[in-house]
């Protein structure tokens, strides 16, 4: 699905990642851990092709990322759901409109799928906040709205960057539960997080592989996780 082989990424002459190899298979559940600034977000941004590897091989849905046209990259992103660290929204549109935006962008009639949209908002607990504007939402509500938007196109993989970064423990568990449910329905999940307690909580529910970024590379985490 997404494969990195000996990928390196440098910015301004500084090496951020070196020799990173990672394979995300269909239906898999991965955590990517490491301290802040280790390069977790960089790995995710490489996966959804916002960044281009300095060297190495990156393939997404069977195609070499470097050979993809801009339209092919956009098409590939429609098969992914991305939950960004700072939950970017179009602030003058309602929560419902923001969540439905991927449908509109892909040329689907979002009005015809209003029932599905309502179900999805209810699933993430935002049924009563559908007409609110994103700036009116709390941190946890924003994270849930971002998750709803990420999954509305039934993506093959969800890439979540610190999805529980701005919420309390109870809300973190609730968001994790949503991601675990998605994975059980066949969606691959990659979560970048520095919250090891969240990782331990997930491992109790799902067979997750835990990867750790250390010394600019990615390695399998120890048995303690």
């Amino acid at each position: 699905m997404i494969e990195l082989k000996s990928v390196a990424y440098s910015y301004g002459g500084d090496a951020i990642l070196e020799g990173v190899s990672l394979s995300l298979a269909p239906g898999s559940f991965h955590f990517l851990t490491g301290p802040s600034g280790a390069g977790k977000s960089t790995v995710l941004r490489l996966c959804y092709m916002e960044l281009v590897p300095t060297s190495g091989h990156l393939s997404v849905f069977g195609k070499r990322a470097g050979a993809m046209t801009r339209d092919e990259i956009a098409q590939a992103r429609r098969r992914m759901g991305v939950v960004h660290q700072d939950c970017q929204f179009v602030d003058h549109l309602s929560v419902a409109d923001n969540v439905a935006l991927p449908l509109e962008v892909a040329g689907h009639d979002s009005g015809a799928q209003a029932g599905d949209l309502a179900d999805l908002l209810a699933w993430v607990g935002l049924g009563a906040r559908a007409q609110a504007r994103p700036p009116e939402l709390s941190g946890g509500e924003r994270q849930r709205a971002a998750l709803a938007r990420a999954v509305i196109m039934s993506p093959e993989i969800v890439l979540a960057d610190e999805p529980t970064g701005n919420v309390d423990w109870e809300m973190s568990l609730r968001l994790l539960q949503l991601l675990v449910e998605l994975n059980r329905m066949g969606t691959s999940v990659l979560i970048a997080t520095h919250d090891l307690a969240l990782v331990r909580a997930a491992k109790a529910q799902v067979a997750a592989r835990v990867l750790r970024i250390a010394d600019r590379g990615v390695q399998l985490a120890g048995a303690d996780l």
Partner: protein, 290 residues
């Protein structure tokens, strides 16, 4: 396309500095375009009138002592009657001479009491007149007659009118280019101000064409709306101009008859210019990021 908040257009925030800038720019440029158009069309009319007059008419002026004037006029008319290239020749009546002199000397001119020369209007045949030969014959038969084929003063005026017409079209082209530049700058500014929205749209798989369409739709409609208001204001201003002398030297500087239809092309033209300028600017900016 007609609803700014439909489809991709609604992802662009509905108001802001760039919206007002585009509206005002398009309106101001449309007013200038109406003025330039009116000036061009007026110059066109004047050039046509002068060119036509230059091609067809000439004058023989007969100045002689009172006792010889009628005889020299008759001699001049006879010379003209037998000159190849002269389609017709007739002496202007006293009323016509009075009308010609009224703008310069006033309406109550006592022509009988003034040594005003007699004027003979000559209409040329398509082949034209041998001016040198005719002048020589007039010098022999009517020494007080002078042949004036208008060339020496009409030709520079016609050339000037043609240049004025050309300048009007150059002004229209410059107005179009300035509008395109201003709209492109406003669009670039809007794209920069909405970098976060664009990043969000990219994240969910929006193609460049879809994102560009969101901005193009907005700017095209704003430019068309601004140009519509500007065109209306420009047409009202031109319509309020005091009427000129339709058959005078400069003619009417306003718009006449079907010419009033020409300014109606300005709003669609502004929309086309804004569409092209925004689209180019949007794709240039979007190509800079993944």
């Amino acid at each position: 396309m007609l609803r700014a908040d439909a489809g991709p257009g609604r992802v662009v925030p509905p108001s802001g500095f760039t919206a007002r800038l585009t509206l005002l720019t398009a309106a101001a440029m449309a007013v200038l375009a109406v003025f330039a158009l009116a000036a061009s069309l007026a110059a066109d009319r004047v050039a046509d009138r002068w060119a036509e007059a230059l091609a067809r008419t000439a004058t023989v002026r007969v100045a002689a002592p009172a006792g010889q004037l009628e005889a020299q006029v008759a001699a001049a008319l006879e010379v003209l009657r037998t000159t190849p290239g002269v389609a017709s020749a007739r002496r202007l009546t006293q009323e016509e001479e009075q009308a010609l002199l009224t703008p310069w000397l006033g309406p109550d001119l006592p022509l009988d009491a003034l040594p005003v020369p007699a004027l003979i209007e000559v209409i040329e045949a398509p082949g034209g007149i041998d001016a040198a030969g005719l002048s020589a014959r007039l010098a022999g038969e009517a020494p007080g007659a002078v042949f004036d084929d208008h060339t020496r003063w009409r030709a520079p005026l016609v050339a000037a009118a043609a240049r004025l017409r050309g300048l009007g079209f150059v002004a229209l082209a410059l107005i179009g280019a300035a509008t395109a530049a201003m709209v492109a700058l406003a669009a670039q500014s809007a794209l920069a101000a909405n970098a976060r929205v664009i990043a969000t749209l990219r994240l969910i798989g929006a193609r460049d064409a879809w994102i560009a369409r969101a901005f193009v739709r907005r700017f095209t409609l704003r430019a068309a709306a601004g140009a519509l208001a500007g065109t209306a204001a420009g047409m009202a201003t031109v319509g309020a101009l005091p009427p000129g002398e339709v058959d005078g030297l400069l003619g009417d500087l306003g718009l006449r008859g079907k010419e009033w239809l020409w300014p109606l092309a300005i709003p669609p033209a502004a929309a086309v210019v804004a569409f092209a300028a925004t689209r180019l600017a949007a794709f240039r900016v979007l190509r800079e990021t993944r």
